[in-house]
Every structure is written in C-alpha cells, then in structure tokens.
C-alpha cells in the first residue's frame, strides 16, 4: 500500500533545503561543516531512492552475463553458497529472487575469480562491467566527480 504524500524523495528534499537555507547560515566552524555534510548525505539518499534499484538490476544483469552460465565449469575458488544462489537466479523467475542476495552471491564469485586470476583472459569484458557499476555508484554518491583527465602530466 502506498504511503500518503509526501514521498520519501520529497520529504528528503524538504529537509535538505531546510538544512541548507535556514540552519547552515546560522552556523560556523565545525558545525557548519557538519551541516553541509548532513545536507549532502540527504542528497545521496535521495538519488539512491531514485536510481538505486535500476542500478542494482543492471549490476545483476551484468554479473549474470559474466558468470551466470558457466560458473560450475570454472570451479575456481567459488563459494558454494554463491553457486547455489546463482543457479537459483538463472533457473527461476528473477522476481522471486532476493536481488540483494543474488548481488552478494554474484559479487562474491566475481571477486573470488578476479583474485584467483581465473578472469585474467577476460579483462575487457570484466572492466566494462566493473566500470559501469562504478559509474552507477558515482551517479548516486557523487555525480559531479569527473573522469580523470590529465593535461601534460
């Protein structure tokens, strides 16, 4: 059942504006710094509410594409639980799976395989997946963070 208005997003926006426009001007020093951090945290949560579940779904799809079908065949240092969860994910309707558990299982396997060197020969596709995941995290945590570009260094 939907909650009454306002939405979580709208509530956070209201509180963030209060902190920035009314509280912050009255503060100085360490308190002003903390107030700016607090408003920034609310903005992060707001972006996560809007973008978070799509980012999770995209990450899961990416993990499946990388690991989903032949995880048994690889067999390198794979966590048993991770395998079971991935099998459940591949074999069943995705909606029935707990996205978070599946993400954890997939990431556990991805990390273990990177660590063991099992994915050394698939560098390009691994990098593409990880870069997209990182970009999706940054879109929530700090959308202004620019890609690294050096001139003359």
């Amino acid at each position: 059942m939907p909650q009454d208005r306002a939405t979580a997003d709208e509530l956070l926006a209201g509180v963030a504006a209060f902190l920035r426009d009314e509280v912050l001007p009255q503060l100085g020093g360490a308190s002003a710094y903390k107030c700016r951090v607090a408003a920034n945290i609310l903005a992060i949560v707001q972006r996560e509410l809007v973008l978070g579940s799509a980012a999770d779904r995209a990450e899961l799809a990416g993990l499946q594409a990388l690991l989903g079908n032949d995880s048994d065949a690889r067999g390198d240092a794979i966590d048993d639980i991770a395998v079971r969860m991935l099998q459940a994910l591949v074999g069943q309707d995705r909606d029935e799976c707990d996205t978070r558990a599946a993400l954890d299982a997939g990431n556990a396997e991805l990390c273990a395989q990177i660590r063991s060197g099992a994915l050394d020969d698939r560098r390009a596709e691994i990098f593409a997946h990880v870069r997209q995941t990182v970009r999706d995290k940054l879109a929530i945590a700090n959308p202004k963070y620019p890609a690294l570009r050096e001139h003359g260094g």
Partner: protein
C-alpha cells in the same frame, strides 16, 4: 592509556608548564590555542616567554585520549597498524632534522603515561598548510612553480638516511607487506559488516580486486629499503611564497620502498581538483623525478612510480571505507565519517583508468 580527552586550554597549559620549565628554564606559556586539524591528533600553538623576555614560538602535538599507536588489535582499534606513537614520531623527526630535511626541530617529548598523554613540543614554522590555498592563492604562484622539484629533492634526502639511525619503533613495510595489510583491512571490514552489523551483508569491491590483482602482477619486489614518510602530500607541507618550509605529520613513517612516497604524492585525491598538475595539484612528474635524481636519489622508473600511484589510490579507497567502519563499529561517533565511506567509488573509477593506462 591516558584518558585526557577534550582538555581545555587552561588545563593543557597547567599540565604542560612543569615540562616547559624543565626544558627551557624559568618561562611562562602564552597564547595557547588549539589549531584545527586531524580528528585523531591535536595540534596546539603556544609561545614560551623566558625570564629575559625571549620568545619561542612552539607547537604541541598530542593524542587526545587513548588514540596513540595501534594496540595489539591492529586496525580493528581504529588506527593504522604500522603508525607511530608520539614519542617515536618525535624521535623520527629528530633524525630527519639532523639529516638536514625541512622539518620542525623537536624540543622534547612526553610519554603516553604523562597526564597530557603522548605528545611532543617542536618549533612552530610560519606558513600556509591548507592545500586549497596553496594551490589557488596568487601568493603561492612562485611556490607552486618550484614545489614538484623541491619535493623530489626533499624525498631523495629522506630516502638516503642511514636506516640504522632510524628509531627502532619503525615497521618494515615492503611492498608485499603493504599489500597484505590493506588486503586484510578490506576483507576484515567486509567480514565485520557481515557478522557484526544488523544489515549483515559483506561489502564487495570488484574494482579493488582488479587493482590488487594488477598490483600483485606488477610488484617491484627488488626495491632497496629506506625511510618512507608515508603521507608525503599537500596538506602536510608548511609552505611560504618561496616553497616548502617544513614537512609535517610523520606518524605513518616506515621502512620500505621510497617510490611509495613519489607515487602517493601523485594520487588524485591530493590534487584537490587541479588535475592538470599531476604532482600534488602543483607540478609535473618530470620535475619531481629530476629533483629526486639531481639530489642523489636513485634513477626514477616512471613505471615504478605509477605502480605506487595505483597502490596509493587503492589505499585511499580502502581508507575511505575504514573511516565509515570507525563510526559503524562504534569506535567513534561521527556521521561525517560514514559519508566518507561513500567516496570509495571515486577511487574505484580512478583505479580502473590508471590500470587501463598502464
């Protein structure tokens, strides 16, 4: 462990006075104020005025409460396991001062059992410490033009110090030991979140795994061992219009590969947005390397520095997580530290690019 947390200036002055007199002779303390600075260290500025009216401008660096060096619990206590306590840090600073490095002269140190906690008193060097000002103010334009080369010269001097003269408390942290330490930190924080927080989920960082994998495959194992400052970057320099006057904050000093300092100085976080100047936001790598070699440092292999830049970016990313851990584990009460945890992904983006450029 001392419990002398949150002392007011009057109390600090009272506790400090007997040792000031013991060291300098009859004198009074004036203008004692706490300077803003790190959360784990307190820095106090004060003057000592002798009976003859002579004035010394000094700094007191102390640990509030029991935040000295890491205890037997290692990083789980909230401190970098290889960091130095204040007495050892003071001793290290004395050694590098005698070697001619730009560093404040230490007058005396007090043990952890002292009512002030572990602390030491050193000369106060006038100048600017805030990195954004050093990087943007017109007054430091001349300094910025010379600092990359000067950093190379200073580091060459530090790395050449005879290791037998260094305090016994310094940890040997060659590259594999550093990788193992930060590996343990990354895994340990994740295990803590899984086992000891209500969310009960581990934390996964495939980008950090790619960085670890790359670092293990490119390890400069044969590097000579020497003194490493461990946090040599803008923010730990006292700067005047002519350049760097003093290097601060020696608590992460260790024995390892000197190229670690050169790479750390190039890590993106320390450019404070000035990415056109890869060395600390102020200079060029060529000048850093030339200064290092001209001052007697070993020939710089840019690939080795790049290795340490990748390592430093990974380290800073894991340290961002460590800041969140300190709050989430209840070691400190600071919601700002939680927000720093959300900056780990900035380093992940940088790492992917740094590795791909290699």
């Amino acid at each position: 462990m001392n419990q002398a947390v949150d002392l007011d200036p009057a109390r600090v002055g009272e506790l400090l006075a007997p040792d000031v007199v013991r060291h300098f002779g009859p004198a009074t303390i004036e203008h004692l104020v706490r300077l803003s600075g790190g959360a784990s260290r307190e820095t106090w500025s004060f003057d000592v005025v002798g009976a003859d009216g002579s004035r010394r401008e000094l700094i007191l660096r102390r640990d509030p409460g029991d935040t000295g060096s890491a205890g037997p619990e290692g990083w789980r206590g909230g401190k970098t396991a290889y960091s130095l306590d204040r007495e050892t840090e003071a001793e290290l600073q004395r050694v590098v001062f005698e070697a001619g490095a730009p560093v404040a002269r230490v007058h005396f140190s007090l043990p952890a059992e002292h009512s002030l906690g572990g602390c030491y008193v050193m000369d106060r060097i006038a100048g600017e410490v805030l990195a954004p000002r050093i990087l943007r103010d017109d007054a430091f334009a001349g300094a910025r033009a010379t600092m990359a080369r000067q950093c190379g010269e200073i580091l060459a001097g530090l790395h050449a110090i005879d290791t037998t003269r260094l305090p016994a408390g310094l940890t040997r942290m060659p590259v594999r030991a550093l990788l193992a330490y930060y590996r343990d930190l990354l895994d340990g924080i994740s295990d803590f979140y899984r086992d000891q927080t209500p969310v009960a989920r581990p934390e996964y960082h495939p980008a950090f795994e790619l960085a670890f994998r790359w670092l293990e495959q490119h390890c400069p194992d044969a590097a000579p061992a020497g003194l490493v400052h461990g946090d040599f970057r803008n923010g730990n320099f006292v700067v005047g219009p002519e350049g760097i006057r003093a290097v601060l904050d020696w608590e992460l000093g260790h024995i390892g590969d000197g190229m670690e300092d050169l790479g750390w100085l190039c890590v993106r976080a320390w450019r404070f947005g000035q990415h056109q100047h890869p060395v600390g936001g102020f200079g060029r790598r060529e000048d850093l390397f030339a200064g290092y070699e001209a001052a007697g440092g070993r020939a710089v292999d840019p690939k080795a520095v790049h290795f340490w830049e990748v390592f430093g970016t990974l380290k800073w990313g894991i340290v961002c997580q460590f800041q969140a851990y300190k709050h989430l584990s209840g070691l400190i009460d600071s919601f700002e530290h939680m927000a720093i945890g959300r900056r780990a992904c900035e380093n992940e983006l940088d790492l992917l690019q740094l590795i791909e450029e290699a």
